[in-house]
């Protein structure tokens, strides 16, 4: 009898423990109707770090965009506008001078000084993860409190676009040094929202920074929630648990549109999806084969079936929102006859066997299946292999593949970022040129365009590069994906940023 009473006590203890623990997860910001001053934003993954130099992934950038500012901004129309730098001038081919805005406060109360900018950019240059974005920079000087001088190694036209990258967000030297290794969880910026708490894997909470230099934001609190399942994000919108959902699944778009409480904002993004060929390998070393496949792919079908129409057929390797996009390049038409002829020219009229690689991204897996079916029409027998992301990157970087499906986001909105890594022969392998494409002419033009300051001239060069690359077809560009955001109709002031990290400063209920 005594024993069972003890047992009961143990059980009761366990129970109360569970409930105490349960109670600990305090009632979070429940979605309520009416004029709210807090919003919940859902995206498909948790941020990795809020140290801009520690990571370069979209979910992290989307949060950091609210916490930090960059010297220069690229606005929603892809125009370069002032950020923390009020004005700037180019002293010579390699020297840029930036005049900082005065009286800008960091979240820890420090004032922004040129020394912070110098510290930030030098720290960035020392970071393995993001230094490639500013590798053109030779040195950074802070001659006065509000003046920063940046000297480049060689002329690099898109430097302003690169400085607008979220990875170039300006940090506070003191805060970084205080936090040490844990800075990624204690970010301090100058942005409209300051960091409050991070429940790992679940949510990040930010609150309005009232001393923000453009004025306090209207929203008092933002919570970024990690909702991995696309369908769950949509359901969350419908039930009102989520105010803004990034990346609504294509199948769910109609549902959001037709719901009178919700709206869907949709716009082209800076990304392109493509199928890469290994030009080092038989038979993809033959241009005709690559072109044949380009002709054999029915891009309309892919867009309709996989994306529910949420994309635009791609011809040029960079989309219309990117500087330097060549509007005259039309997508390869769907022409099975022509494809067969080209294969015949390559001496492969009977077709061949090959494989296509994809990672476990469901959209890519579906594309692979459609392409597999389409290439069968011209006698190419494709086997699909799904690889786990790590080995996918690793092995495509080493050139073990035949064909693969990937995407590229030209985050800076400048053609250099979108073309150089993918088509310059110095970038073969893991650096981006996973088709192992090599064309002397293209290399030369890419190098030249990079150093040309006159934008008309640059544009011309990029147009030419795109023509050559599309003709050579080391990849088959599939589509420029439109990005979308679903949200409650009551939300005002939201604009999509083509790079994907939308600014929430102007949002209100």
């Amino acid at each position: 009898m005594l024993k069972s009473r003890k047992l009961l006590a143990v059980l009761a203890l366990m129970l109360s423990f569970v409930f105490v623990m349960t109670g600990c997860g305090k009632g979070s910001n429940q979605a309520t109707e009416g004029g709210k001053d807090s919003i919940i934003v859902a995206q498909g993954a948790d941020a990795k770090s809020l140290d801009p130099h520690a990571t370069n992934d979209q979910p992290s950038s989307r949060v950091m965009k609210q916490i930090y500012n960059t010297l220069i901004n690229t606005n929603e129309d892809m125009q370069i506008v002032p950020g923390l730098a009020e004005s700037w001038e180019q002293k010579d081919e390699k020297t840029w001078v930036f005049n900082l805005r005065k009286g800008v406060k960091f979240h820890n109360g420090e004032e922004l000084k040129a020394s912070d900018v110098k510290f930030t950019l030098e720290r960035m240059l020392a970071s393995d993860k993001v230094n490639h974005i500013v590798e053109a920079i030779a040195k950074v000087e802070a001659p006065e409190d509000y003046k920063v001088v940046i000297t480049l190694k060689e002329p690099f036209a898109p430097i302003l676009a690169h400085l607008s990258h979220t990875a170039a967000s300006i940090l506070n030297e003191k805060a970084v040094k205080e936090a040490g290794d844990n800075y990624g969880q204690k970010p301090v910026g100058t942005g409209p929202f300051k960091f409050v708490a991070w429940q790992s894997g679940d949510k990040i909470e930010l609150e309005a920074f009232n001393e923000y230099f453009e004025g306090a934001p209207k929203i008092k609190k933002i919570t970024f929630r990690n909702v991995a399942e696309g369908s769950a994000r949509t359901m969350g919108l419908e039930t009102g648990e989520i105010d803004i959902a990034y990346d609504v699944e294509p199948v769910d778009k109609e549902r959001v549109k037709n719901n009178d409480k919700l709206t869907l904002v949709e716009e082209p993004s800076l990304s392109v999806a493509y199928i890469g060929f290994n030009t080092n390998k038989e038979p993809f070393n033959k241009k005709e084969v690559r072109q044949a496949i380009n002709y054999a792919i029915n891009r309309d079908d892919i867009i309709a079936a996989v994306l529910n129409g949420a994309a635009e057929k791609a011809g040029a390797p960079i989309g219309p929102k990117v500087f330097g996009h060549n509007p005259n390049i039309k997508p390869y038409e769907y022409n099975v006859q022509k494809a067969k002829e080209l294969l015949k020219q390559a001496g492969l009229e009977k077709g061949f066997k090959t494989t296509i690689w994809t990672n476990d991204n469901p959209v890519r897996v579906q594309i692979a299946q459609i392409v597999q079916a389409q290439l069968k029409e011209i006698g190419i027998d494709v086997k699909i292999e799904t690889l786990e992301w790590g080995s996918y990157l690793d092995r495509t970087g080493r050139g073990e593949h035949d064909m693969f499906i990937l995407g590229w986001v030209t985050v800076t909105g400048d053609a250099d970022y979108g073309l150089y890594a993918l088509y310059h022969s110095s970038q073969k392998g893991g650096a981006g040129n996973r088709s192992f494409y090599e064309n002397k002419k293209v290399d030369e033009l890419l190098d030249k365009a990079k150093a040309t300051n006159d934008s008309k001239e640059r544009e011309k060069l990029y147009h030419e590069i795109q023509e050559i690359v599309v003709e050579d077809a080391p990849v088959a560009n599939l589509y420029y994906q439109t990005q979308n955001v679903g949200m409650q109709k009551a939300i005002k002031g939201f604009r999509l940023h083509p790079a994907g990290h939308h600014r929430l400063y102007n949002v209100s209920y």
Binding site: M21, K48, T55, K129, G184, E238, T239, E241, D394
Partner: protein, 308 residues
Amino acid sequence: MRKYITRRLLMLIPVILGVTFIVFSIMYMTPGDPAQMILGESAPESAVKALREKMGLNDPFIVQYGRFVKNAIMGDFGRSYATKKEVFAEIFARFPATLQLASVGVLVAVLIGVPVGIISATKQYSLFDSVAMLLALLGVSMPNFWQGLMYILLFSVTLGWLPSGGYGSFKHFILPALTLGTSTAAVIARMTRSSMLEVIRQDYIRTARAKGVEEKKVILKHALKNALIPIITVVGLQFGHLLGGAVLTETVYSWPGIGRLLVDAIKQKDTPMVQATVVFIAVTFSIVNLAVDILYAYVDPRIKSQYK
């Protein structure tokens, strides 16, 4: 008893060492370069090479493993490659979510499973028994993630009663706990039933009846306690498994638990994170097992005497 517990805890050491070795080998042998994963798909190769060197990834396997063990003994399991967070800080940040879900799930399962099992056993071959056991079988047979999707569809989308996912308030618990609870309840109900059936046939139950003990008391006092060992075993095993993270349920309900942490870490080739998570899961599992064994002693004096 104390001696027994100490001995059991000491036995953990070789197991954990073995676990780390296996995990380390797995992470070493599987393709995918951590340096590349850290730097992302658009990093220049020179940077990847430099980082590899800096991280010591070019050292021979045994050197790398030795370094890991040395640091681990000093209590340093390192920082996540992906997030640069201290791995155990991250695990402890995630563990409450897992612990709560596992506890509530098992609680639901026990509250449903044990009574159903008992009633089924006492009314063997009755209508209740048949229906309950069929339902239990269905519970075992239904893929958890599918069940989860169906619940969301019904309770969140159609009826709008409960949130479709996330973590925080009590309401967020209900669906994940129900999903885990019902399938676990099915297992427990089946075990309770068969264990009770075994016990009810024993002579001492007949003795109790012959003493004039009420039927309810015969079942709850005399039979249940004897039937408890296999039930505790199953509950412990299920609890241990759930503490290792219910990846599928966590994914369906956006639950920030250990399971997703592990799967994400594996996918990102985040060796320190994988290593620490697996060690953590292994230790938790062993501790739950030990707790179960200690609980045996409270339930069954014969076992208690063996521990001395």
